[in-house]
Amino acid sequence: MPDFSLPAASRRSVLRGIGGAAVLGAGIPLLSACGSSTGSSDSKTVTLGSNASDAVPKKAFASVYADFKKTSGVTVKVNTKDHNTFQEQINSYLQGTPDDVFNWFAGYRMQFFAAKKLATPIDDVWAKIGDNFPDAMKKLSKGEDGKYYFVPLTTYPWAIFYRKSVFTAKGYTVPTTWDQLVALCKQMKKDGLVPIAFGDKDQWPAMGTFDQINFRLNGYDFHKALMAGTESWTDPKVKAVFDHWSELLPYHQEGFMGRTWQDAAQGIVSKKSGMYLLGSFVAQQFTNKADLDDLDFFAFPEINSAYGQDTVEAPTDGFMVSKAPKNHDGVVKLMEYLGSPAAEELYLKTDPSVVAASSKASTAAYSPLQKKAFDMIGAAKSLTQFMDRDSRPDFTSTVMQPGLQKFLQNPKGVDSLLSSIERQKKTIFASS
C-alpha cells in the first residue's frame, strides 16, 4: 500500500506511507478518516473527492448526497479537502488512489486529464441525462476524443455589475456598445465616481477582463484557439485587445495591484464605484439584503458586430469519474442522479450564489439576479470557462498572470510583452 515507488513520491503519498507505517506500528487507526480506498469495494458505497470546503457548498452537497441515498440506497462517502489544496494536488491525487468520483471544472482543464487517461468516459450516463442540458453544456462536457467525461452541476456568469439606484439617480443607461461604455466611464469620472472597480492582487481578475474583450472583439473561435495555444499571441488581433483595454484602463480603480477583489467589491457596496466586471460571486460581498436587491448586471458591451454579445463566460463546476472506479454501477447511478434537474434544484436551495447547469431545472426559487444569470447563460451561443480553465494551467499561472500584470503596469510595452508571451507559450505547449 505505501506508494514510495510511485512517481515523485509526492508529499501526500509519502505522508500516507509514513502514516500507514504508524498505523501498523501502533495499531491505532490514525488515518481511517482520510483513507480513500477503505470500505469502497462494496456495492452500497461510492467514494467522492470533494473540493467543496467552504461551509455553504459543503452543506449543499451533503443535502444532495443524502437525497441520493434515499432514492438509490447507495451511500456517498465524501472526502473533502481544502478547495485550493485539492486543485494543487490534483495531479498526484488522480495518479494515486483517487476516489471513484471527484469534483472538477468543465472545459480544457477537464479535457487535459481525460487525454492523460486519468478519467473514465461516461457516455453511458449521458445517454440518459443528455436531454437535460443545452448544447453549450454538452460541448463543455466532452473530451477531445468526443466522449463525455463530465457531468455539470452549477454555473455562474461573468458580467459587469452595477447598482440600479446609482444608475437611476445619475440617469445612466446600460451601455450596449464599446463607445457607450467608454462614454459612460467618462461621465462617471466627471460625476466623481470610480468608473470601474478593480483589484488584481490575486492575479486572476485581469484574466477575466482580457477574456471579455477578446471574445467580443475576435469571437469565440479565435479566443478558444488562442487559449488552446494554436493562435499566435503576436497576432494583430491580440494586440487590438490590449489597445481596447488601454483605452479603458484610465477608468479603472487606482492601486489595483495591491487590492483583492473583495476590497474592490466594497466600492460597489458603498456606491463609490460605478461598475465592476466580475463573476456573480461578487454578490457574496453584499451582506445587507437591501443592497443585494439593488445589485444588477449587464453583459459586456458589443465591440465587433460580427460577434455581438453571443459569448458568455460561465465557469461550470461538476463531477468526473476517476480512472478506475471501484464501484462502477454505483458511480453510474450517482452520475445520472447528479445530472438530473432534481439534484441541481436541491443544491441551489442551500447555495443560491450559482445557477443550475441544466436547462430543465426549475427556476421558480431563483432570485431576480439568479434568474437573469440563468437566462443569460441559456441564451448564449457559446460558453467560455475563464482563461485558467480554458488553457493549460501551467501557461496561465506562470506566464499569463505575471504577463497581464506587466501590461497593467506598463500598457505601452505591449509589443515586447506579447512576443515574450508567445515565446514562452511555444515551449510550454510543445512540452507534452
Partner: protein, 326 residues
C-alpha cells in the same frame, strides 16, 4: 614557517613508524571484545537508519532534481519524462521575464539584511548586554517577531500596507483617488515594503545571536581595557568586536541562508507578483500546484543550488583550513 610545518607534518605521518604496527593490530581486537553482538546491531541501526534517511531525503532527492532539470515532465507517469538537454536553462536565461529580476531581488534581499538589520541587531545586543533595567522585557519584545511564523508576519504587514484600509495609507491619507500609494502592488515600492518587514524580524534574530556572543566575552578583557583608559567605543571597536569573530561568521551564514530561502513572507504578502519575484517563489509556482512544470522548476532549483554552493563551499574551505591550522 607555519606553512612549512603544515606541509611537512602529513608527510611525516604518511610514513608509518615501524615500531607501533603490531600494537595497532592489537587495538581493534580489544575493541571487538568490548562490543557485544547486540551492541553492534544497535550501533548499525543507530548509524544506518539516519544514513538511509539522509541519503534518501537529501542526496537522492537533490540528485533527482538535478537530473530532472534536464528533462521536461508534467508529473504524470514516469514515461512522460522527456530528455531535453539544456533547453530549460536556455529558456530560463533568455525567455523568462521573471528570472533575472528574481535573482536581482535575492541579491538585494541579502545586501539589505546585512547592511541594515544586522548592525542594528548588534547595536541592540550591546545595549542589552549592559544589564540595563527591564533587559528581559526588551529582549522578549525584539525577539518576538522571530518566534512568530513568517506567514503570520506577512499577513500582519499586509494589513498594515493594504492600499485602501491599511494603517499607513489611512494615517497619511494616501487612500484617496489621485494620492494612491500602492505598497503591495507597485513594483517600485513593494520589494522595499516587504524588506522592512523582513528587517524588522531579522534585527531581533541578529540581536539574540550577538547577545549570546557577547555573553561569552571574557569580562577580564573589559576590565583590562578599562584599566588601560579606553573609552566605551574604543573598547567595543578594539576588544569586544574582534572577539565576536565566530559570531560574525555565524551571522553571515545565517543571513545568506535567510536571503536565499526568503519565501513565506513574500508569498503571503503578494504571492511574488511583479516587483517581488524571488527564485524560491518561481520554483514553487512552476512545480507545485496544477502547473507541474517539474523539469523547468527543477532547473530554477538547480540555479539556486549552484548559488548556495558558491557561497557555502568557500566558507567550508576556510573553516577546514582554520581547523587544520589549529
Amino acid at each position: 614557517m607555519i606553512s612549512e610545518t603544515t606541509t611537512t607534518s602529513p608527510e611525516a605521518e604518511a610514513v608509518p613508524p615501524p615500531g607501533p604496527a603490531p600494537a595497532k593490530k592489537r587495538v581493534p581486537k580489544g575493541a571487538k571484545r568490548l562490543l557485544t553482538r547486540r551492541d553492534r546491531i544497535t550501533l548499525a541501526f543507530m548509524a544506518g537508519v539516519p544514513t538511509v534517511l539522509h541519503v534518501a531525503l537529501v542526496w537522492v532527492t537533490a540528485l533527482a532534481s538535478i537530473a530532472l532539470a534536464f528533462t521536461s515532465w508534467d508529473g504524470i507517469g514516469f514515461d512522460s519524462i522527456k530528455w531535453v538537454g539544456l533547453d530549460n536553462f536556455k529558456q530560463l536565461f533568455s525567455d523568462n521575464p521573471q528570472f533575472w529580476p528574481a535573482l536581482e531581488h535575492n541579491v538585494i534581499w541579502f545586501v539589505v539584511l546585512i547592511v541594515l538589520p544586522t548592525p542594528f541587531g548588534l547595536f541592540l545586543a550591546v545595549q542589552l548586554d549592559k544589564n540595563i533595567r527591564f533587559s528581559r522585557v526588551y529582549q522578549t519584545a525584539f525577539f518576538l517577531p522571530v518566534v512568530m511564523s513568517l506567514a503570520v508576519t506577512g499577513f500582519v504587514w499586509q494589513l498594515i500596507y493594504n492600499p485602501d484600509t491599511g494603517l499607513i495609507n489611512s494615517l497619511i491619507g494616501a487612500n484617496k483617488p489621485g494620492h494612491y500609494i500602492d505598497w503591495i502592488g507597485d513594483p517600485k515600492l513593494n520589494l522595499w515594503a516587504v524588506l522592512i518587514a523582513a528587517s524588522w524580524r531579522h534585527a531581533g534574530y541578529m540581536m539574540i545571536l550577538y547577545l549570546a556572543g557577547l555573553k561569552g566575552v571574557d569580562p577580564s578583557l573589559r576590565e583590562a581595557s578599562a584599566l588601560d583608559g579606553a573609552n566605551e567605543w574604543q573598547t567595543f571597536k578594539n576588544v569586544i568586536f574582534p572577539t565576536l569573530r565566530p559570531t560574525n561568521t555565524v551571522v553571515l551564514v545565517v543571513t545568506i541562508i535567510e536571503s536565499l530561502r526568503a519565501f513565506d513572507l513574500v508569498f503571503v504578502f503578494n504571492k511574488g507578483a511583479q516587483g517581488t519575484e524571488l527564485l524560491s517563489i518561481l520554483i514553487t509556482n512552476n512545480i507545485i500546484g496544477e502547473s507541474s512544470r517539474i523539469g523547468y522548476g527543477s532547473a530554477i532549483a538547480v540555479v539556486l543550488l549552484v548559488i548556495s554552493l558558491a557561497v557555502i563551499i568557500p566558507y567550508l574551505i576556510a573553516t577546514f583550513r582554520k581547523e587544520r591550522r589549529a
